[in-house]
């Protein structure tokens, strides 16, 4: 294994993936070995479906080696199935919640699908997320349980964690559907610096033709995505999430007034820091066109307690995909660890953080070895 392409580090891999996503033709002009490696990296980074879609749109997939062309076709088939499962879950929800008189807003992947955003193509949603008012969430949960959804099994500690500290109830699942349903009453965990008011989010939700449920406004969808990535996660192998943000920005920036509303809303919600990170990193990786004035205005409002350069270095390291022939680089693992600690601190007072980490560690040790994936 001594071709130059094999020695790519995480950052270089991320850059190459971004390049072939932007201009799919460049992939098919590469030698087969490099194509193969980049497709494996794309698969690792959960970008293979999107790459397959873009290759198909550019009509160049037939120039790929046959086994790679077939993998693209396979991913697109999987993505189509996931999309249909989301639509089925939404349909069932609309019937189940028809006599609960409270707004229900679609979030994230499900919202991208009903809006038929370009960013939705080739994605692999594994759950459906909805937002309801906190004072109605118990009723919504009861109704869903009555109509056939079931709580996913989890230990008592996790149950308490969800209900007390999180912004969502434990995931539900309707029998044969392969997706989980996550019912949220906020888009970030409560008690932190960012406070996007659910009532404001719901109040600004927009209807979508053909969808029984509304979606968040474009600026709120953008903020949700940036908060999820930069406020509530360890950024580990999250190039996929960054690409989603890039997609939202490109689509919504065409709407008049979007940048102004986005900036204003970020300030009102205490989400400016996350947004500033989002804008910096999508521009860095995917070349997202962002007006300088917007970048400056957002950046002025959002200051974190880490120096920006240090924070960005951590993010860049953690976010990069692992090389398919090795495990995650030690630096990436360390960076993700630091960012995870940061996310926990943002979410909890210190005493709860310690208990949370300790309890999870204990559970991990005592839990039986995870069952083998059943193979033929």
């Amino acid at each position: 294994m001594n071709s130059g392409v094999q020695e790519l580090g995480g950052r270089e891999l991320a850059a190459k993936l971004a390049a072939i996503l932007a201009v799919p033709e460049t992939l098919v002009r590469m030698p087969a070995a490099e194509c193969d490696l980049l497709m494996r990296a794309a698969r690792n980074a959960k970008l293979l479906g999107t790459l397959a879609h873009r290759l198909s749109e550019a009509r160049v997939e037939s120039a790929l080696p046959q086994v790679l062309r077939e993998q693209c076709a396979s991913e697109l088939a999987l993505s189509r199935h996931r999309r249909q499962m989301v639509l089925w879950e939404i349909d069932r929800l609309s019937r189940a919640l028809s006599d609960v008189d409270t707004p229900v807003v679609l979030l994230k992947g499900a919202a991208y699908i009903v809006q038929t955003l370009p960013a939705a193509a080739g994605r692999m949603p594994s759950d459906v997320d909805i937002l309801v008012r906190r004072d109605r969430i118990a009723e919504v949960e009861r109704t869903l349980l009555r109509k056939g959804w079931q709580t996913t099994p989890m230990n008592a500690y996790d149950q308490r964690y969800y209900r007390q500290w999180s912004h969502e109830i434990p995931p539900l699942r309707y029998g044969p559907c392969p997706l989980e349903l996550d019912v949220h009453h906020a888009i970030v965990p409560p008690g932190g610096r960012a406070r996007p008011a659910a009532s404001e989010l719901i109040g600004s939700a927009l209807t979508v033709p053909g969808s029984p449920f509304p979606v968040l406004s474009p600026e709120d969808q953008t903020l949700h995505a940036t908060l999820q990535l930069f406020y509530d996660s360890d950024c580990s192998n999250r190039l996929r999430d960054l690409l989603d943000i890039d997609g939202l920005l490109r689509t919504f920036s065409a709407r008049p007034g979007y940048w102004e509303r986005l900036t204003q809303r970020a300030g009102a919600f205490g989400a400016a820091h996350s947004l500033a990170c989002g804008l910096r990193h999508t521009a860095r990786v995917f070349g997202t066109p962002i007006p300088d004035s917007v970048a400056a205005a957002v950046s002025a409002r959002g200051r974190g307690w880490l120096p920006q350069s240090a924070f960005d270095a951590l993010v860049e390291s953690a976010m990069a995909p692992a090389h398919p022939d090795g495990g995650a680089a030690r630096t990436a693992v360390a960076a993700a660890g630091l960012l995870r600690a940061r996310a926990l601190c943002l979410r909890f007072p210190p005493s709860v953080v310690i208990r949370h980490v300790a309890a999870r560690t204990l559970h991990a040790v005592l839990k039986p070895v995870r069952p083998d994936t059943e193979v033929a």
Binding site: S74, H81, A376
Partner: protein
């Protein structure tokens, strides 16, 4: 063209540790790495007739079986299946190397083959006509598939019935070593003393497992499809005789679709593909105790003759090695049993 068996263990071990060992199964092509020498030895036996080829650098799966590091290693040597930097399964004891590779590769291939409808079945063919043997617990599918191959049928796969939804009449080979379990290892060894059976691996999750190196002719045909003609649902029954029953089309549809790996994933395409298979194939359930009865029955099916049921009588059957032309049976209704003419 040189074959893996001709290169020898040392050369194969060197490839596994170095540039990787490419393997072509037909509908999938994989590259394997390993630092575990016993695996190289086993692979040299069980993949002996697979060609050695250079110059391929794009694969369906690139996977590795690596010795696991860490504290556990001191207590009991372990290995992991690693694909694209991820280890999706718990480690195995180091002595269960080949089963880990085979199961891991099957899992990866199944997860990456949604451009095809992947039925869970053995597939054999004669003169371009294919017989599907859907897999169910207790079917004896693997033993039967092995016996069919060893008695002269072309093996396309012992595990996967691979259909292109755009052309559902054709089954494509996914030719892998044939896995045998427990008693069937001895049954096949007794019936076919010349069969190239690799090492036996006791105490796996499925009991004792061994693999048959596929015949060279099957390997060399792994890019040639066969037209689907017959679906036989086998059922091994140690207490009974030989029983053959036509299976109604709707039931055959349910059984085929129900045990496909990715029927629901493919949605409307899968529905039309399974319907096409069920419409064009005669479908039978075959209850058998003796392997050679089952072989004779399947040979008979393809000749257009359905042998009558024979409860509790040992049949004087020999496995048929002819490749005569077979009459095709028109229509979608099952053939009525004719008078018995077992070979």
């Amino acid at each position: 063209m040189s074959r893996i068996g001709e290169l020898g263990e040392a050369a194969i071990a060197a490839r596994l540790e170095g540039t990787g060992l490419p393997l072509d199964f037909g509908a999938a092509r994989v590259r394997v790495f390993s630092d575990h020498l016993p695996l190289a030895v086993a692979m040299t036996q069980v993949y002996r007739d697979y060609p050695v080829f250079e110059g391929e650098s794009a694969f369906t799966v690139t996977a590795a079986v690596r010795r696991a590091s860490g504290v556990r290693r001191l207590l009991r040597a372990q290995i992991r299946f690693v694909v694209d930097g991820d280890a999706p399964f718990e480690p195995f004891p180091a002595e269960t190397h080949l089963p880990l590779l085979e199961w891991g590769l099957n899992w990866c291939i199944a997860n990456r083959s949604h451009h095809r409808l992947m039925l869970h079945a053995g597939v054999v063919a004669r003169d371009g006509l294919a017989v599907l043997l859907p897999a169910y617990p207790g079917s004896g599918k693997s033993t039967l598939t092995a016996a069919l191959m060893l008695s002269g049928w072309r093996l396309l796969s012992d595990e996967f019935g691979v259909l292109n939804p755009a052309e559902p009449a054709v089954l494509h080979p996914l030719l892998r070593p044939v896995a045998l379990k427990n008693e069937s290892i001895d049954v096949i060894r007794a019936m076919y003393p010349g069969a190239a059976i690799g090492p036996a691996f006791p105490r796996t999750r499925k009991g004792t497992v061994a693999h048959i190196a596929p015949a060279r002719a099957c390997i060399d045909s792994c890019h040639r499809g066969a037209t689907a003609r017959l679906v036989v649902f086998p059922k091994y029954d140690s207490s009974g005789g030989l029983e053959i029953e036509p299976v109604a089309k709707a039931r055959a549809f349910v059984k085929l679709a129900g045990n496909a790996f990715n029927y629901e994933t493919l949605g409307p395409q899968a529905f039309h593909a399974v319907r096409a298979v069920v419409d064009r194939c005669d479908c039978y359930q075959l209850r058998y105790r003796r392997l050679d009865d089952a072989l004779a029955a399947i040979n008979g099916f393809l000749r257009g003759i359905a042998p009558a049921s024979q409860p509790l009588q040992p049949a004087r059957a020999q496995a048929d090695g002819d490749s005569t032309a077979y009459a095709s049976q028109a229509g979608s209704s099952a053939a009525a049993p004719a008078s018995p003419t077992l070979q």
